[in-house]
Amino acid sequence: MKSAVILFPGINRENDAIAALKQATGTQPTLVWHGETELPNVDIIMVPGGFSYGDYLRCGAMAAKSPIMRAVADRASQGVTILGVCNGFQILTEAGLLPGALMRNASLKFICKNTHLKIENTTTRFTNQYGKGDVVDYPVAHHDGNYFADEDTLNRLEGEGRVVLRYCDANGAVDTETNLNGSQRNIAGIINEAGNVLGMMPHPENAIDPLHGGIDGRGLFKSMVEAVS
């Protein structure tokens, strides 16, 4: 199984993405520079976290217009599995591969901690290793993770089972108290209409080793491997 990690200037979690993909797939992922126009033939593409282009203009706005993103969009339309984490989620929304936008956290604070997440849909190719309503523990590290979309889009996402992850507490309670960053309806991760592109703010790649403090993130990578093999 082959995978690729896209690298933009200012990205800083590419090695974490590589470690998680390598652990799950058993092969070394290919690192692809943003200026490339072609992608290798891969089963999984990951757009990692960081601060591409220093978050200039808007988080992810510049990276979304990079040459490589045209190739990523082509692969998305062909049904290739694509995971965008943190800045990667912002890039995918700015590129129009996922609906909505990520705004400044409601608290205006950079949030760097572990958070609980409820797995809302276990039938996706990213969550098939989890049980319905499972609560997982992943780290978050972002300033702009406040998910926004208009009401019609939100209702559509909910109706189509495309809200995959929500911020919650250890018991799975989803409410304003457990809303980490002000996201509409506590949304932490969504998939596209075809179900092959997931964008999420939390970092599953930083919860794959007991030394990370937990291994809840392994399931997400295992799910992708399961789905594409």
Binding site: L57, A61, A101, M103, R104, A106, N146, F148, D150
Partner: protein, 79 residues
Amino acid sequence: MKARVHVTLKNGVLDPQGKAVHHALQGLGFDGVNDVRQGKFIELEIDGTDTAKAKAEVTEMCEKLLANTVIEDYTIELA
């Protein structure tokens, strides 16, 4: 020719930064401020003298990059 682009959050989109600025202004004793919305100002120096053409081009720039129309509105002034 100069193009001046103002990008602001759409009505109905919460602006936590604007709220924080409002709060800070109140703290400084400026009590007459009812609301603050924060945005961006982008100035472009562009070729040509055809304002209609420039307007069309800057509009395309706003749609493609300068604004995120999911959450933002933009206005263009040419001078």
